[in-house]
Every structure is written in C-alpha cells, then in structure tokens.
C-alpha cells in the first residue's frame, strides 16, 4: 500500500470521462458566477480546482451535485444526467459543515451517507453494512469505528467524511478544500489516501487553496475564474500569464515565485 507515489500519473487514455461538465453557466442573485465552463474528470485522475475566492469553485461543485439551479449546460456522470448522475457522486464537504457534537459513532456517521440508498422506513441491509465497512477500511478508520465523532482529531474527521462519501461507492468524488486546517503530517496522510483512491480507479475533483501542494499532487489542474482559464497537467501550466489571469495578480506577485514560475530577481 505504501509503495504508491505521491503524484497521480496523468491519464491520457480515451474513453468516456467519469464526470463531464459541458457549457455550464450558473447565475446567483442575478450575477453570472460561472459561464462557458467545460470540465471532464476521468477515472484515475485527481483534478485540482484552483482559483481565488469568489471564482466559483464551490458553486461549480454545488452545481455538479445539483444543489444550485444552472442557467445552461449539462452535468453527466458515467454518461448519465439528473438524479442518476448525482447518486454516483460522493461529496466530501468542508469539515465545518458537519455537526461534530452529535452523539454518533464513526460507523453510524458513515452509514448516514447511505440514507437514501437504504430507503424510506427501512433499516440498513447487509450490503449497506458491507459498504460502510469497506469505506472505513479504505480510510483506515476501522479501529476507531465505535468512537464518538466528537473525540476525533481534524485528520480523522476528514477521513470520516471521505469514508461517508465512499460508502456510496461513487464513480466520482468531490472534495471541498479537504486540506484546509490540517497540519502538514496530516495533510500528507490525506494526500496518500487520495492518491490511493485514484490508483484504484476513482475520479477525484477537489478544490484547494494549497497551490504548491496541488502542483505536487494533482494529475491535472483547472484554473478557474468565472470560467476555466487553464486546464492541464501542472508541468504544462508554466505560463505565468495564466496564473496572473486566474488570480488577478501582477507579475511581481510572490505567488508566481512560490510556484517556481518566475525566477526571484537578485
């Protein structure tokens, strides 16, 4: 398990993408937040969605989930749209969205992700328990499965949220700023987990503000600012101009130097 590198290789094989967003436009409060947005994520890819605050990263995730009405465009998962698409998506929200003070064990919290699968007025079946168990195994939380969620550390909480999404056995995993608020060792553990999930054939799309980490880990980066500004493997996104456009910064910004895109002037 540990032999996996920290970098997800670029997938170039053709075939239908797991997630396909076409020509998406979203209006919020009369303002066009996203327009002409095309995005595809294939199995085995870890795509980093990067952009400044207000660029529409979260809105993009929420429209993929069907939580905000779109003005135009389509979202397809495994070639399906609508409800059939959203049931194939696993969503890992920011950690503060979850009520950590709720008296519930890790395994029950993970089971709550399958609430629609289980169905109205029914109890979880063997298949549900099995899915939860597998999800816990994959994030290595099986030992802590009876622990109350309120007693977990930040990194463990993030893994519970990933397991809850995995319990749906999704084709696509959406992660909203999974690294925010985690210390460096915990971030690295989480990175290893995400890389592993990709290696097992998952399609992952995550927003992040950790640009250097994303350059290092992601197989592909999408620079977003109201629309896709640039899209490609990190090593191809070397044009400082793209980053300046995406983030609205000038050529003197320390960001470009941190990313190694321009040489520091002596």
């Amino acid at each position: 398990m540990t032999a996996v590198g920290t970098r997800v290789p670029v997938t170039r094989e053709p075939g239908p993408p797991a997630l396909q967003v076409t020509d998406l436009a979203v209006e919020l409060g009369g303002r066009l937040v996203l327009h002409d947005t095309d995005l595809a994520v294939r199995a085995g890819e870890l795509v980093g969605l990067i952009g400044p605050n207000g660029a529409g990263k979260t809105t993009l995730l929420r429209s993929v989930l069907g939580l905000v009405p779109t003005r135009s465009g389509t979202v397809q998962v495994d070639g399906r749209s609508g409800g059939a698409a959203s049931s194939r998506i696993g969503y890992v929200p920011q950690r503060h969205e979850f009520a950590w003070d709720f008296p519930i064990s890790v395994e029950d919290a993970v089971m709550s992700g399958r609430v629609r699968r289980v169905g109205w007025m029914r109890r979880p079946a063997v298949a549900d328990y099995r899915a939860v168990r597998q999800a816990l195994d994959r994030v290595r939380m099986t030992d802590l499965r009876r622990r109350v969620v309120g007693e977990l550390s930040g990194g463990q909480r993030q893994r519970v949220l990933v397991a809850r999404a995995l319990a749906l056995q999704p084709s696509v995993l959406l992660l909203d700023e999974p690294f925010t608020g985690l210390d460096v060792p915990t971030q690295e553990l989480l990175t290893d987990l995400l890389v592993e999930l990709c290696a097992e054939g998952g399609a992952l799309l995550m927003t992040t503000h950790d640009l250097t980490g994303a350059m290092h880990t992601c197989s592909r980066l999408c620079l977003l600012n109201r629309t896709i500004v640039a899209n490609g493997p990190p090593e191809e996104l070397t044009d400082p101009d793209l980053w300046m456009r995406a983030f609205g910064i000038t050529g003197g910004s320390p960001l470009l130097r941190a990313l190694g895109l321009v040489q520091a002037t002596a």
Partner: protein
C-alpha cells in the same frame, strides 16, 4: 408531607380518580416530549420549540371561545406558525431566530386579544398558561394516548432521515433528501408534542418537558439511541416524582414537575460519568492539565 405509601393509596382511591389520570397524562406527555426533545436539543432548535409553544396559544383561545377541541385548535395554530417560520426562513436575508421572534410574539399577542373577548377570561387564561392537570376530561386522555403513539411511530420511521439532516444539511440535500419537508415534519411533530402536553403543564412550562430531560440525557451519554431512551425515562420519572411532591406538599403540579426535572439536570451536570463537573475536576487533577483530559476518554459509551 405524606409518605410514598400514602401516595400510592391515594392513587388507588376511587374518590381521587383524577390523581391516577393526572399521573398517566404527565407520564405520557413526558415520554413523547422526551423522545422528540432529543432531536430538538441536538439540532439546537430549542427556540423553535419555545416559539411553537407560544404560538399554540391563539389556537387554544379560539377553541375555548368557540367551545371546540383545545387539542385541535392548538395544533392548527402551532402548525401554521411552524410552517410560516420554515417558509419565511428560506429568505436568507433574515436569520431564522429573527423570523421566530417576529411570529411567536405575534401569535401569543393574538391569543391574548382573542381570549380577552371571552367571558371569564382571567381564570381560563391561568389554565392555559399553567395547566390544569387535575381537571382533564377522559376523552383527552385517549387523545394524548393515541396521538402520542402516532407521534412516536412517526419519529421512529423518520429517524435516520432526521439524523442525516441534523448531521449535515448540505450532504443530505445532495443525497436527494427532501430537507425542507423533513424540517416541516419535525416542526409539526414538535408542535403536536407540545399541544398534547399543554394541558398537563401549561403553555409556559411545556418547553421544559421537551428540553430538560433530553438535555440531561445528552449529558449522561454519547450514544443517540441511549439518549432517546434516557430522555423519556428521565421525563417520566420527573413527572411522577413531581406529582408526588405536588400532591403531598400542596404545590402547583406543573411548576413542581419542572423543578424536579431541573434538579435532575443539575445533578447530571455535576455527576455525569464522562463529562460531569466532578469527573473533570478529578481527571484534571490526575492528568495535570486540560489537554490531557481529552485523551482520557473511556471507549465504552454510556
């Protein structure tokens, strides 16, 4: 003060038939409120419970003036207010607690205006506000028994959906749960639990049946299942002990029940096995510092 034995004898005395009826009503109300109160406490919607409790008042007043069913009148008014709050809260410019603040006072004011038009209103006002556990008609006992059973069944059937929404609204919504409808269902259930209990304990104190036993249970356990078992048990115990004290010391029934329940809460606050004040003090001294306290968590839940 009479002994427990005398109290039991009085309960069995056919001349005092209102007494066992009062105990039955108080226990049934406490059980229903104790279960539903767990959701109220965990979701931090105590203020909504308060709002609904007050909003029930105009319905009771109208039913009183028209000589109709108090339970029905209260239910209609409470549900109407709960729905108004849920719908108006969709406007994100005003926070939910503000909306509640607007509607529940308005509903209560309406109740006062309506009941002031009725003859002999001072006495009936007191009944509504503080309950009249000794003068309950038999048909109301049946209504509470049947209504309470249906409510408990409803909470049981929607349990995992309520939990999913309480845990993470966004996730629940993205999973395809009808969050607004589930919210409405919970509000309506809270309303009905309150309406069923109003006669026992009165409009002002009914919130205590909903919140206090569930809050005490939360202090005693980290397991939702155990909490939903402890809540009604604690509520029912407080009701019986409260009625005993009320009967033997000639104290108002509603107030005594609530004070017993509150005493239980304070006791749990100090003595709770894992998070109680006493355990924290002892542990803190042993582990030298608040950081270590978190680590000494015992794996076995209550």
């Amino acid at each position: 003060m009479i002994s427990v034995g005398d109290f039991i004898a009085d309960l069995l005395n056919p001349d005092l038939a209102f007494l066992p009826k009062a105990v039955l009503m108080a226990v049934m109300s406490s059980v229903v409120c104790g279960v539903i109160g767990c959701h109220v406490v965990l979701r931090g919607m105590a203020f909504i419970g308060d709002a609904v409790a007050h909003a029930v008042f105009p319905g009771l007043a109208v039913a009183f003036v028209l000589q109709g069913s108090l339970v029905l009148g209260g239910a209609v008014a409470g549900v109407a207010t709960a729905v108004l709050v849920a719908v108006f809260s969709q406007n994100r410019r005003l926070r939910e607690d503000t909306i509640i603040g607007v509607f529940f006072v308005a509903a209560f004011a309406l109740g006062i205006v309506i009941i002031s038009r009725a003859p002999g209103y001072a006495g009936s006002l007191q009944h509504f506000l503080f309950g009249s556990i000794t003068g309950i008609p038999d048909e109301d006992v049946v209504i509470v028994a049947v209504g309470g059973t249906i409510l408990l069944l409803g909470v049981f059937l929607l349990h995992k959906e309520f939990v999913a929404v309480s845990l993470d609204r966004e996730m629940a919504r993205s999973a395809g749960l009808p969050v607004l409808w589930l919210d409405l269902a919970l509000y309506v259930m809270v309303t009905l639990a309150i309406v069923l209990s109003v006669q026992t304990i009165g409009n002002i104190l009914v919130l205590a049946l909903l919140i206090t036993p569930a809050a005490t249970a939360r202090l005693l356990t980290d397991r939702l299942g155990m909490m939903m078992l402890l809540g009604p048990v604690l509520g029912a115990t407080s009701a019986v002990v409260g009625l005993y004290l009320s009967w033997s010391l000639d104290l108002p029934a509603g107030g005594t029940i609530v004070l017993v329940s509150t005493a239980g809460f304070l006791l749990a606050w100090v003595l709770a096995p894992r998070h109680g004040l006493l355990v924290r003090k002892v542990r803190g001294r042993r582990a030298m510092g608040p950081v270590a306290v978190e680590r000494v968590a015992v794996p076995a839940g209550g």
